[in-house]
Structures are given as C-alpha cells and as structure tokens.
Amino acid sequence: MEVVIASSSDDAGIGCWDLRTGAEKLRYKTCASPPHGLVSVGGRFLASSQLREPSASSGSVLFWSWSKPQPEVKSFPAEPIKPLAANSLGTYIVGGGSSGNIYLWEVATGRLLKKWKAHLRGVTCLVFSEDDSLLISGSEDGCIRVWSLFRIFDDVQSQQASHLYEHSITEHSLPVTDIVTGYGGCNAILVSASKDRTCKVWSLSEGRLLRNIVFPSEIDVIALDPGEHVFYAGSRDGNIYIVALHAESKPSKVFGMHIIGLLSDHSKPVTCLAYSKEGNSLLSGSEDGMVKVWDLKTQNIIRMFRHAKGPVNNILIVKPQSSPNLSKRHGSLLPPPLEKYANSSDKETDNKAVIALQATISSTPEPFYYSSQLINDHIKELQQQGSAAAEIDVERLKLDCKRSMQMLQQWKKMYDNLHEFCVDELLDGHQVPGSEGNSA
C-alpha cells in the first residue's frame, strides 16, 4: 500500500492518504516543516525537522510512528535544522543546519556520529545518492557539494585532505532550492534547481555540467522520472515544466531550451513534487494547499487531496512498514532521540555496532534428511573392508611381520653371542656380571 504524505509550513499537521483509493488516513499532528524537512526513515517512521522562531537556539526534529497521531520522540539538535534526509535503509539521518553544518546521526542509537562544516551559509537541501554512498548538499549561497560518506568517516584521510568534499559546484548564483539524483552509481546524474531560474544537470562522478536549463520563473522543486528521459520542475508561476534529459528530445522555443511541455493547473507556486511508480503518476503540492495527482500518460489530473489552507511544502510517497496490532508493552516503537552533541567519552559503544542477524528465509529451513546418505556411506564402508584398503593393510602387516622376523633373528643372534661369551667366561673361570655383557 502506497500512501501519500504531505506536510506544510503552517502547523497543519501531516496529511496521509492512500494513493490508490484516495482515502484519508491518520493525520499526524503538530508539524510545521521547512521544505525538504519531512522524511520517512526506512519506511518505518516519519521524521520532520520543525520551523523554529529565528531566535531559537536549538533546532527541533520530531518522530511519528505510523500508528499514533502525536509525535512520540522529540529531539533538539544544537541548531535549527532545515533539510533532513535518511538513507534508503533508514540507518542514518542527516540534517542540514542553518549555519551550514551537516549533522549525521545513527538512527538505532540516536548518536551524533559526525558533524562537519559543509557550507558557508545555511544548508537548503540534502539528498543521498542511489547507492547511499554519497551525500549531496545544497546551500543558500548557491553552492552544491558532493560528500563521500566514506571520506567523512575516515578520520585519517580527512585530516590529510584539504577539503572533505568530492566536488564543490558553485555555478548557481542564488540559493539552491532542490537537488535530485538518478540511478546508475557513478554514472548517475544530478539535477539541481536554484532561485536563479535555472536547473542544471551534472554528472555526479565528475561534477561536470551537462546541461543548463533556463526557466521563465524560479524553480522550487524537481522530480526525476525513473527512466530519466525527463524531469519535472515545479515553478513559482504555478506550472510544472517537463524538461527533456535525452539528447534527442525535442526542445521548445516557447518555454525555453529543453523544455518540452508543462502541466498547469495550480494557481499558486508549486512547492513539492513526487513521482509514484504505481500508475506512472506525478504528485504535486502547491501553496494553495492542494496535492494533485497527474497521470503522466494523459497529462490529466486524476485525483486531488486537500491538505490545508496553508502551503504544502513536502510530499512523500511511502510504503509504511509496520503492523500496529502489536501490544505496546515493549514501550516506544521508536528509536531514542537524536543527540545534541557528539559524545566522545562513550568509547565502548563506539567499538560496537548493533546489528540484527535476521533469518533470510521466511519459513523454517528446508529440511534435509541424512538417513539415505548414511546408508550409502556405510554400505560403501562395508564394501571396502574386503578390498583395496585391506590389501594395503595386508601389505603393511606383511612388512611388519618381516621386520619383526628380522628383529627376532637379530635378538637371537645376540643371545647366541652372549651365551657363547658367558660360556667362554665361565669356562675361563672369571665371574662377570650379566649386565656388562648385555651392554657390550
């Protein structure tokens, strides 16, 4: 079951609808999220950073389990966090601070594993690459940086290197509003949108600019088609532009280079987009508080959800992975809150990693019976008793026998010699101790 999750910068809660039926589900309360501030952590629970008063000294990140409307876990990081991202398995949560710091927490323990100065100004968006090994961050100063998590964690190398990032892209002149990455590991592309009215397509591995698209209006959000022949750009003029990524595609003069069409129905700026694999549809959220579902084949709206009067600024499509029917005696279903500071004194837990060794097969192991094998083995053994092995044994025994015979002969000879000697001695009339004779 795929559900649509939408949140707003107003305190309108998090709306949740079944994508297929359109039925509204539980509405999660008390959430005023910044753009890119809502994330589903491994499909297990929802996390959202919260808009704070400018004067607030700490940030706020809330967790909701699927089954309860109230936020269950509240964390207060050291500074206001805006964008939030989790890797696909939900092992780590990263948050971008308004001072340009990026925080990386381990979800299972809540530990702040790393914190580093990523940008000179506030971080506006954070996204993991498809294989979760790279992190891409965009900033208010228009800078985009690509981080390798390995390097972040590699203390030795990070001390040697002059900078931590893999690429630093500074071609946007105004704040970066959104970043998406495509499939393909190192061959993946990166699409960035900025307030400077452009979207730029980059090669993720090289940080090279592949394409620059100029729009009539500011682009707040982009969504990549999984086939990557187009991407969708939600603009402040209320249109969703369809932009070609294929070299062969047909650009249009009307909208600008590479732009091949638009979806237009929102009266207010489009602030968030999400692509749903089920039914090849695109979801768009707008400042008018509506979430619209577009059939991309026909380019028609097939469904609408009303979230609130206020602006929608985050949409997620999630497959929740929980079963709410279980007893609550195990306490909270959620992980502990995210720590405010890195706790370096706790060396012992540092040395351990909590893992789960889950059975990889669903049923009991496929039974394997040994009896028939054993019978065959034993029969073979029984058969062999009269054969080659025994022959070798006989050979060996014969050899042993021969050797023993030789030994016997030797002893006998020795005895004879001794006997002769003793007799001689006796006849000579001298008394000699036997032992001496033996050792001779």
Binding site: F150, K253, V254, Q299, V354, I355, S362
Partner: protein, 910 residues
C-alpha cells in the same frame, strides 16, 4: 516376474498407484532380512532405499481423490508390515540387522505420510533412543541412531503444532549426546552426535537451554583437544556458534563472541610468541575486555581442564593453529547466521584481531631476534597461510554481517516489510526489550579501516589462495558499498589485477618479448612455437595449457588460472560499479588489458565445458570458466561508460560472435547476451518517448545547442500541414504556440539580413554550408516559404553572382503566402533545378527539401509546366540520400518528409 502372474488385472503403466503396495511387499519379502534370514548383502539394502525413494512407496499419497478403499487399505497394511519389520530389525541382537533396521527407520521418518508419522513418532523415538542410552556397542549402530534421530526431529520440526513435544523429546537426547561426545573415542560417532546436536539447535533450540554450559564445555573441549579432523572441527565450530540460539538473548551471543575472541587472542599469543611486540596483543585484549571490567569466563567454563591440558601436553603449534582456525570459523558463523534479537558486534576488536593476524608475516622484529630460533620461525611460517585464510574469511563474515541489506525489526513490533524481498521473522521469538531499530550498512563508520587493512595486506600478500580471497573481499566491498568504495579501492584493484593478469600477456607476447631474467628463454621459445602454430593438431587441443606451461618456464612463477579469474572478476566489478569515476588514469590500460586477455584466452578455441569424469572435481571446466570470466570482464569494459567510444568494440564483437557459435555452452549463452547488450552501442536508439510529443526528426540534432531554441516552429508547421494532432498530444503546446506567432514573424523579418551578413566567403563548399543555413530554417513562420528560402540560399551559395537577386526573393518570400509565391513559379523551379543539379555535395537534407518543395509546389499550383523539372530533381535527391542512409539519423529524416509531401495538398485545399 512370477509375482505378477498371480495378479489377474494388469497395471496401467509405471505410474499406476496400485503398483506401489505390490512393490513394497516384494521388497519386504525378498530384500529385507528377518529374525532368521541374515542380511545377505548390504547392496540389497541400497536397492531397497533407492526403490522406496524413487517410487515413493511409503508416501500413501494418491493423485486423485476417489481411490477405492481396498487399495488404500492394502497399501496401509503393507506399510504396517514394513514398519513392524523395521522395528523388529532395529531390536535385533545382531548389530548388522540392528543397523539396517535403524537406518530404514530413519528413512521411514523421512518418507512416510504425515498421519503415520504423527501417530507413531514417539514409539520410533523410544526405539532409537534405546540405542543411545545406554550406548550400543557397535559404532555403526550409534552413528545410525544419531542420524535417524536427526531425521526424525527434522520431520518433527515441520509440524508447528508439535513444538513443545519436540522440545521435550529432544531434551532427553542432550545428555546421551554429550556423553557420546565426551566419552566415545571414535570420530564417526562424534560426527553423528554433533550433527544431531545441530539438528536439535536448529529445530528445538529451547531444549538445550538447561544443558547450555555442559554443551558448551563438551563442544569446546572437543575443539581444543586436537583429536578431530578438519571437517569435524568445522562442524564443531558451527555447533558452538549456534549454541547461543538456545537462549536467544543478546547476552549469550555477546558472551560467546567475547569468549571466543579472547581465546583466539590468547592462542595467538602462544603462536606468535617472540614474533611480535606485546603491544599488539595487549591492544586487542584491551578492546575485548575494557579496562576495569572482568574478563569473561573461559570458553567451556572448565579452567582447570584446559590448564591441565596445557601443562601436561606440550601444545604443538599445529594444534594451536587448528583450534584458532576452528574458533575463527565459529566467529564467522556467529556473525552470519540468523539470531532472534539484535546483537552488538565488537567490530573494533574483530578488526584489530584480524589485523593482528594479517600483519604477521613471519618476520622477526630486530629486538626479538636473540630469542627466536630458525626452527621456531619456520614452524610459524608454515602455519601462517592457514591463519591468514581464516582471518580473511572472518573479515568477509564481518563485512557480510555488518552490511546485510535486509530490513530488520525487533520482535514485538513486527514491521513487516511489504515489498522488500525475502524477509521475515525468525522462527523462534523471544520477548526482548531494547530499541528496535536495527540499522544496516553499519560498516560505514569502519569502512575506511577495513579498506586500509585490505589494501595494506594486498601489497604484502603473494599466495594465490589468499589473493583470490582478497579479490572476493574487494568485490563484496564494491558491490555492497557502491561508488564511494570504488573511489577508495580502484587503484589498488587495478594495480594488483594488472600484476596478476600481465603474466598472461607476457606469455602471450610471443617470441619478441625479451625477458632478460629468463634463463630458459630458449626452451620457452621452442615450446611456444609449438603452442602458437595453428597447424599442429596435437598441441592445438590443449593450447591454453601449453601457453601456461611456457609462461611458467619463463616467469618462474605460475599464476594459477583461478587467481587470474578472481582478478578478472574484480576488474569486472570495478568497471560495473565505478566505471567512470576518476578512471582517466587507468581506464585505457585496463581496457587494453582486458581485450588482450579475452583475445588470448579465446584464441585457441573454446574450452570443453563437460567434466571429464576421470579427473577429480571440475578441473576441466576451469578453462571454460576462465574464458567466461575474460569475456565478462571484456563486456564490462565495453559497456562501462567512458569519455570515448569503446576502442575495442570491433574486436569484442568478433569474439562474442565467435563464442556464440559454440552451441550449448555457457560461453555461447553469455556471448549471445553480450551481443544483445552491445547492440545498443552499435545502434544507438532514440528511445521512443511515448508520453511526449515525439522529437521531430529534423536538422536540430546536428546543430547542437543553437538550433533547438528555434526548432519548435517546425512542429507547428508539421501540425498545420499534417493536420494530425493525435500525433502530438501536447495540448498545451498547441495552445501556447499561437500567441507566439506574431513574434515569430517579427523575427523572420530580421533573420535574412543577419544571415546574409554572416555569410562566409563564396569559396566555401555548399556541403559545409548547409547546416548553418538550416539553422535559420525553422525561424520562418510559413514552412513552405521557409523551405524555398533555404533553397534560395543554397543557390546563392552555389552561384554567387546571383546573390543580390536571390536575396531579394528570399525577403519577399518570407512575407509572402503560398499563393503569392505561386505567382513566380517558373523562376523558382528553375533555380531549384539548378540548385539540385549543381550541388552534388549538398547534404541529404537539402536534397530532401528540394524534392519536397518541388512536389508541394507542384501540387499547390497545379501547374503543368513545372512537372517537367520535378522528375529530374527527385531521382537526384534520392540518389543523394543513399549514402546518408548509413548515418544514424537518416532514417528519421527519410520518414518524415514523405509525410509532409502527402499531407501538404490536403491542408492547402482545406
């Protein structure tokens, strides 16, 4: 067949169910011993077993529902007889009959129907147990009892409603099993007992709970005793690792892990005595047992026993090595087998322990020299490879265990993964409280450490077996950790693989390769001549082998095929995962290397994949595997994206084409697949963009970034002319085009001037000029006019003296409609004709336009005097097109323009 004669009716065929009771009865009568008859030959028993299994004689299962009661009853009674006879045999005093009875009872447990098993398993269990308690005399009987009991419990484990019963039954077995382990002297019996123990832990872990310590003691003392063979040790190790499952809590697992690691470390102290600084051992120890904490009780719990062994028996290094190896196997199993709850892995101590072993290369530190004898050093060095192998295995297990990509959950919450593949709950669940969110890919914070260890060891490691393992570790790392890891590992993989693979090429390099170090180069040359000459038939059969032998002579170091395969696989993975990433420095040399290897490995034809039954194992197919690995790596190198077109595509295709012809082999299958994937490289497809207005096949492709801005008008034109909006469903486009119309025409007015101003000197060839002209083509509002104007410009270029006149026409044409333009058909036609004839070097597009425009005008005007010129133009245009058909995009332009031609008159008449 005398038996059949009694039977009045005949059987339908060999699948007739009625046959089964009959066959079983015959088996009982003829082949099974009873009290009086002795067991004739053990072969008869094998025949009984195979017949029963082949025909499922004990299954009592009927295909169709309505089978007559008589048949059911007769089968039932025959099986009753069978069971009685088997039980009778199992009670016999003669050990051979008893053995046969026990074995067949085990077989019955496996084969009989569920109902029968359900009703009689406890009787069978008692019967089997009686041979273990007290233990029978015969070793065969003891082993057979263990095995049959194991089968009985395995079957019992399938009944979920009998869990408690099974647990209580297997509880009775623990004592006798431990007794066998402790007191018996035969390894076969231990084997049977350990296998039974393993079955019990797997299916009824709770039954061991009360005997946990004793079981641990028994198994671990067996491991440390040094009396078992390697296979047995492995089984013991696995058993020990599974023991914590019987308790199923976090503490037991951690304690077991800690005990084992501490013991390994202590043993290593003994083995490495005098070879390394104490600090290393102390470091691991500190990580294992943090300062201020109590060390765990020793493994097996009996300090005195182990102490006694250590004092009385001088523990040989051999023994230490084997027990360290077993304990490492046990660790691996602990890390990779499933466990009901999440567990804390002491990752740092594991890694430092592994590092301790891997960094020990048998060299003596200077300070230690006085205390070491050469003898001691020799002993350690001879054992080190085994230790290294197991440490690498442990490293693999750590990586696997830490980066399991399955979604986990804690019991109690049951986060059922919906579409996440084969995940589910562990069979046994215990209540447990702690946080539930179990993270995967936990290796990340330690990845750098692992990589450093691997690369450091790669530089030292020279043994093929170890290098193969290292390659497999790097592959695992690459695949599980993706791009980031590729950046780290690329250079090491490339360097090492090049070293391992270059030898192949050196062998292959022919006589010209001069190796100054080679002493036997003469003989090598001679041999190679044989090997490489394609006439000699005998040598031909085994060419690759010969080549390898020659290489051995020359290099004085044989690199086994399996190592080369591992290197190839590592390169393949690297290219797949991180093909373009920072690859400029190594990519071309690796591409070159891979094509050379592939060519070399396949030049002698294709290896026979069939196993030679006279050779042990699969030693023949390794050549085929090598070829396959080479081809796979080659495919990866061709497919991995690079800045340039794959340089060896032609050679690669040739290899794959040849390989495909070896019908019925793995290589042929792979080559067919490779050709399919490479086909996209050969014919780059414009993937159909179904959901969007399809790209108009026009000139824009050639123009790079300038043209597209203006191109849209072309679509507009097509829409008007073709009148087929369904082909261009972008409704918004059509709507939005209109308002822009006026702007377009404004633009048009300006365009010719600009064009003219930019016109290059007349000496420029028309062919070169063409694309630039066409840049302006889409700018015009009216397509027909625009085309004409283009042609006019071409003419302008071809015949410079007409320039002023032509230009005027262009300008007038821009603002003119079709009809206006029709006023001067003659002149245009003439010019067109000239343009077409006078410009053989024109690009095909221009030809297209010429012909198109001709026809359209012809039709529009309905003028007869034009027709005289058109035929002369069209064939030319077609001819001109032909050479372009090979071009990648000529199809599209061919397709599109005829459309216009057909549609044009309609639209105009409307």
């Amino acid at each position: 067949m005398a038996a059949f004669e009694h039977f009045k009716e005949h059987y339908k065929d060999m699948y007739d169910v009625k046959l089964k009771p009959r066959m079983l009865r015959t088996l009982i009568r003829k082949h099974l011993p009873d009290e009086k008859q002795p067991l004739h030959s053990s072969f008869e028993l094998a025949k009984v077993v195979s017949t029963i299994q082949t025909h499922s004689l004990l299954s009592e299962s009927f295909e169709e529902e309505s089978t007559d009661q008589k048949l059911i009853q007769s089968w039932n009674s025959v099986i009753d007889d069978w069971v009685n006879r088997v039980l009778l045999l199992a009670s016999s005093n003669m050990s051979d009959k008893c053995w046969a009875g026990i074995c067949l009872l085990g077989l019955t447990c496996q084969e009989c129907s569920s109902a029968r098993f359900f009703s009689s398993y406890s009787v069978w269990f008692q019967k089997l147990l009686s041979h273990l308690q007290p233990p029978a005399d015969s070793q065969f009987v003891k082993v057979a009892s263990c095995t049959s009991l194991s089968d009985l419990l395995t079957r019992l484990g399938r009944f979920s409603n009998l869990k408690n019963d099974g647990t209580s039954h297997s509880g009775k077995l623990i004592q006798p099993i431990l007794k066998l382990l402790n007191e018996d002297s035969s390894e076969a019996v231990w084997d049977g007992a350990v296998s039974l123990l393993h079955t019990i832990i797997t299916f009824f872990p709770a039954s061991i709970h009360h005997h946990y310590d004793k079981a641990e003691a028994a198994v671990s003392s067996k491991i440390l005793s040094g009396k078992c063979g390697p296979k047995m040790l492995k089984k013991l190790g696995h058993c020990l690792a599974l023991l914590p499952k019987s308790k199923g809590d976090e503490g037991s697992w951690s304690l077991m892990m800690q005990k084992i690691l501490v013991l390994i470390n202590d043993h290593l102290n003994d083995v490495f005595q005098g070879m390394e600084e104490e600090a290393k051992s102390a470091k691991v120890r500190r990580l294992l047992v943090p300062p201020g904490k109590d060390p765990p009780p020793p493994l097996g719990g009996h300090t005195s026993l182990i102490g006694a062994i250590e004092k009385t028996i001088k523990r040989s290094d051999q023994l230490l090595t084997s027990s360290v190896s077993t304990l490492m196997i046990c660790c691996c199993k602990l890390l990779t087998s499933s466990y009901p709850v999440q567990v804390p892995v002491p990752i740092c101590s594991l890694l430092s322990l592994i590092e301790r072993v891997l960094m020990m290369d048998g060299s003596c530190p200077q300070t230690m020299l006085p205390f070491m004898t050469a003898m001691q050093q020799e002993l350690i060095c001879s054992d080190l490879p085994v230790l290294h192998v197991h440490s690498l295995d442990l490293l693999i297990a750590v990586i696997k265990g830490m980066s399991r990509t399955f979604l986990h959950f804690k019991l109690g919450i049951l986060l059922i993964p919906l579409l996440r593949g084969p995940i589910s709950m562990a069979p046994s669940m215990h209540t447990f409280t702690s946080n539930i969110f179990i993270a995967c890919s936990h290796l990340l914070p330690h990845a750098a450490e692992v990589v450093r260890l691997v690369t450091k060891y790669f530089r030292r490691c020279a043994l093929p077996e170890l290098r193969i393992k290292l390659y497999s570790i790097t592959r695992t790392l690459l695949i599980s950790m993706g791009v980031g890891m590729a950046m780290y590992l690329a250079h090491d993989i490339v360097d090492n693989a090049s070293i391992d693979l270059n030898s192949v090429l050196e062998e292959n390099a022919g006589t010209s390769a001069s190796d100054p170090n080679s002493i036997k180069i003469q003989s090598a040359k001679r041999k190679r001549k044989h090997g490489a000459s394609f006439e000699s038939s005998e040598e031909q059969q085994d060419k690759t082998n010969t080549g390898l032998e020659v290489g051995a002579h020359k290099k004085h170091k044989i690199i086994p095929i399996s190592l080369k395969m591992a290197a190839l696989e590592a390169l393949e993975t690297l290219l797949t995962v991180g093909g373009v990433l920072g690859s400029e420095s190594w990519r071309s040399s690796i591409d070159n290397l891979l094509i050379m290897i592939a060519t070399y490995s396949c030049k002698g034809g294709w290896a026979n994949e069939e196993n030679d039954i006279f050779l042990p194992h699969e030693s023949t197919s390794i050549l085929a595997d090598f070829q396959l690995a080479a081809l796979r790596a080659l495919l990866a190198s061709l497919l991995a994206p690079a800045r340039v077109r794959p340089p060896y595509l032609a050679q690669g295709l040739d290899l794959f084409c040849r390989g495909k012809q070896e019908a019925g082999t793995k290589i042929a299958g792979f080559c067919a697949y490779a050709l399919l994937t490479l086909e996209v490289l050969i014919h780059p497809r414009t993937l159909a963009l179904d959901d969007f207005p399809s790209a108009c096949p026009n000139l824009s492709k050639e123009m790079g970034h300038d043209a597209p801005e203006l191109d849209y008008e072309d679509d507009d034109f097509l829409l008007n002319v073709n009148d087929s909006p369904e082909k261009y469903p972008g409704k918004c486009m059509k709507d939005t085009v209109e308002p822009f119309k006026s702007k377009e025409t404004d633009l048009v007015e300006k365009l010719p001037e600009t064009n003219f101003a930019e016109k290059p000197p007349p000496s420029d060839a028309c062919g070169i000029k063409a694309p630039e002209i066409s840049e302006w083509e889409p700018a015009t509002g009216n397509a027909d006019v625009q085309m004409i104007s283009d042609e006019d410009q071409i003419i302008v270029e071809s015949h410079q003296f007409q320039k002023p006149v032509q230009f005027q026409e262009v300008v007038s044409a821009k603002s003119a409609t079709n009809h206006e333009f029709a006023g001067d058909p003659q002149g245009t036609e003439l010019k067109l004709g000239r343009a077409a004839s006078g410009s053989d070097s024109l690009s095909h597009k221009d030809h297209d336009m010429v012909s198109t425009v001709n026809i359209s005008q012809d039709k529009v005007e309905g003028s007869a005097n034009v027709s005289g010129t058109t035929p002369s133009v069209i064939p030319r245009a077609d001819k001109g097109k032909d050479p372009w058909n090979d071009g990648s995009d000529s199809d599209s332009s061919n397709d599109s323009f005829p459309d216009i031609v057909d549609a044009d008159p309609d639209s105009d008449s409307d």
